[in-house]
């Protein structure tokens, strides 16, 4: 299978200007300005296969948008190599961009003053989409995103959630094999988020569309992406399965027990003495929590032991949330 995206030693530096103080400083700024060079994306390499859905995550200012802008041909890299859909995005830009779709959550791609369907009609011409292609493909997109009733409204009259759904549809008019989404769910309410996720999953399955997605909302990633690429200060600090990220960085599992009889921490420690478990008791609610390594064998053994000895009212297995894991990684750094 071909790679949709190949990135090698990619780097983007920006000049960050600073102003000198005072009148004299202002005059000197006119001639030469002080600046330092800030690497927004610092020597990253990765590959994405056709049909993959990849979550590109990182804190604000980590360089996510800058990467996407280089992959879509908006920005020229300082150094390094980018090959997307077999092309260099910066050469032959016009040919290249008809093979991708782009959505920027913070910025509208549609024309502000004209009705949504007029925007679609213009984009259809711009991307040279035939009537048959448009009808068969877009009818489905419009139905799934539920934007039929919005089509005759101008974009400026739409709510954010309505607009985002239209933006997504607009990015797919030419049914591109590769879709870039930069914060597509920012500021949206839960229902719209769910609808958008549902939709992305569907086009990925139906057309094998590759999707690269940046987001603040890790539940987007959990719902959609098996693979995450994590960025920190312009560098990739993790690239792999979301699952192994959890296994490696999760704090293990927590198993909560409630009992029908009076139980003490001593009892529990005695029962599970042969396993590596730490018990804690929440006095108020009479909930006992076992902290164990995230290992299915071990946990099932642990539960078996407890259930064999004590009358259990309720059991609840909790996983460390991705959110917490990511926090941990940023707080402590990866090593």
């Amino acid at each position: 299978m071909n790679d949709a995206i190949t990135v090698r030693n990619l780097k983007k530096e920006f000049k960050a200007y600073s102003s000198r103080s005072g009148l004299k400083g202002a005059f000197r700024d006119l001639l030469t300005r002080n600046y330092k060079i800030v690497p927004a994306v610092n020597n990253i390499s990765f590959q994405v296969k056709q049909g993959e859905m990849v979550g590109y995550i990182g804190e604000n200012g980590a360089g996510k948008s800058t990467t996407i802008k280089m992959l879509t041909g908006i920005l020229t890299p300082t150094t390094g190599e980018v090959i997307v859909n077999g092309m260099n995005p910066h050469k032959d830009r016009e040919k290249f961009v008809s093979t991708i779709g782009v959505v920027f959550g913070q910025r509208s791609q549609l024309w502000w003053d004209i009705a949504v369907q007029e925007s679609f009609r213009l984009l259809k011409k711009v991307y040279k989409v035939s009537d048959e292609q448009y009808d068969s493909h877009m009818a489905h997109v419009i139905r799934t995103l539920d934007i039929e009733p919005l089509l005759d409204k101008p974009v400026r009259k739409l709510s954010l959630g309505q607009r985002m759904r239209c933006e997504l549809a607009a990015a797919l008019i030419h049914n591109p094999p590769l879709l870039f989404l930069d914060e597509p769910t920012i500021g949206l309410d839960v229902l719209v988020k769910l609808k958008i996720r549902e939709f992305l999953k569907e086009i990925n399955e139906k057309y094998n569309t590759t999707i690269l997605l940046t987001t603040h909302d890790l539940s987007d990633i959990e719902a959609l992406c098996e693979r995450v690429v994590m960025l920190d200060e312009g560098k990739i600090i993790y690239d792999g399965a979301l699952k192994s990220l959890k296994e490696k960085w999760g704090e293990g599992k927590e198993i909560e027990f409630q009992f029908l009889e009076d139980v003490t921490l001593n009892d529990l420690n005695r029962i599970t003495a042969s396993s590596e478990v730490k018990w804690e008791k929440d006095e108020k609610e009479a909930i006992f929590t076992a902290f164990a390594e995230d290992n299915d064998e071990l946990i099932s053994l642990l539960i078996a032991k407890v259930v064999a000895d004590l009358k259990v009212k309720d059991i609840n297995i909790k996983e460390t949330s991705t959110e917490e894991i990511i926090r941990n990684i940023y707080d402590r750094g990866i090593s």
């Binding site: 920006f14 908006i74 910066h90 991708i100 791609q109």
Partner: protein
């Protein structure tokens, strides 16, 4: 071919949108016409009592002004890029443009066009007919073709200069722009160049060739043989300047940094 088809798609869309706000449209056309009338009166007042100015009669000057209005109208309809720096660079609108499969400058021309400005051309032609009548100028069969050629050349000169100025935004990171100043310099093209000193004439011919938008091409129709060479250079200068501006634009776009946050 594709670009021509797309052009008309945008024009159709533009008309549709404009028709929805008919009241605005009429106000705009009216103020446009009013603006041109004021300009005309200004010319009449300034050149009213001088029958001859550096060898040009009052009617000839009015004729030049009328001619100038035509390429200028085309320019203002399609090169509405005076706020390019603020709109497309500082706000980062160019991001959107660069993700679409049409040349970026052409897209900006398409989405910023203001077809009402074309009414200026009607005024211009009316002024030319009036002045031409007073001067007793005749029309030969080649005149319409040359007129068309010179008008397009003049528009390309004007467009080329302003695209080059817009390109400064790719290299400098200044938040303000010198566009308004250039609009003023552009106005000098409508007056006969030889009334200025030779330095200004040189500048208006070869550096910022605004003279090719008014005086030089109009001289042909006025039968001023000493300027014929320059008249016929109009389309050449137009193509050369516009070509240079496109090349500059293309390399400028590679330096686009997007809107920082």
């Amino acid at each position: 071919m594709f670009y021509i088809a797309i052009f008309f798609q945008y024009v159709a869309q533009y008309m549709k949108t404009r028709m929805q706000y008919r009241a605005d449209l009429f106000v705009e056309i009216f103020s446009d016409l009013l603006f041109q009338a004021v300009n005309l009166i200004f010319i009449l007042v300034v050149f009213g009592h001088t029958e001859l100015l550096g060898g040009w009669t009052r009617d000839e000057i009015i004729f030049i002004y009328g001619f100038f209005l035509v390429p200028y109208a085309l320019f203002s309809s399609f090169f509405n890029i005076w706020d390019f720096n603020e709109r497309y660079i500082v706000k980062g609108e160019l991001d959107r443009i660069l993700t679409r499969p049409i040349h970026s400058l052409f897209q900006i021309v398409l989405e910023r066009m203001e077809l009402e400005s074309l009414f200026g051309a009607v005024t211009g032609i009316a002024v030319m007919i009036y002045a031409g009548n007073s001067l007793g100028l005749g029309i030969t069969w080649t005149d319409p073709f040359l007129f068309f050629l010179f008008v397009i050349g003049g528009m390309l000169v004007y467009g080329g200069i302003f695209v080059l100025i817009a390109c400064i935004s790719f290299w400098a990171d200044a938040r303000t722009s010198i566009m308004p100043m250039m609009y003023n310099i552009g106005n000098y093209g409508r007056y006969p160049v030889d009334i200025y000193n030779s330095v200004i004439r040189f500048v208006l011919t070869w550096v910022l060739p605004f003279a090719f938008v008014g005086v030089y091409p109009a001289s042909y129709f006025l039968g001023k043989e000493e300027w014929f060479l320059y008249s016929f250079l109009t389309p050449v200068i137009g193509i050369v300047f516009f070509g240079i501006s496109i090349l500059t634009w293309n390399s400028g776009v590679k330096r686009y940094r997007g809107a920082g946050n």
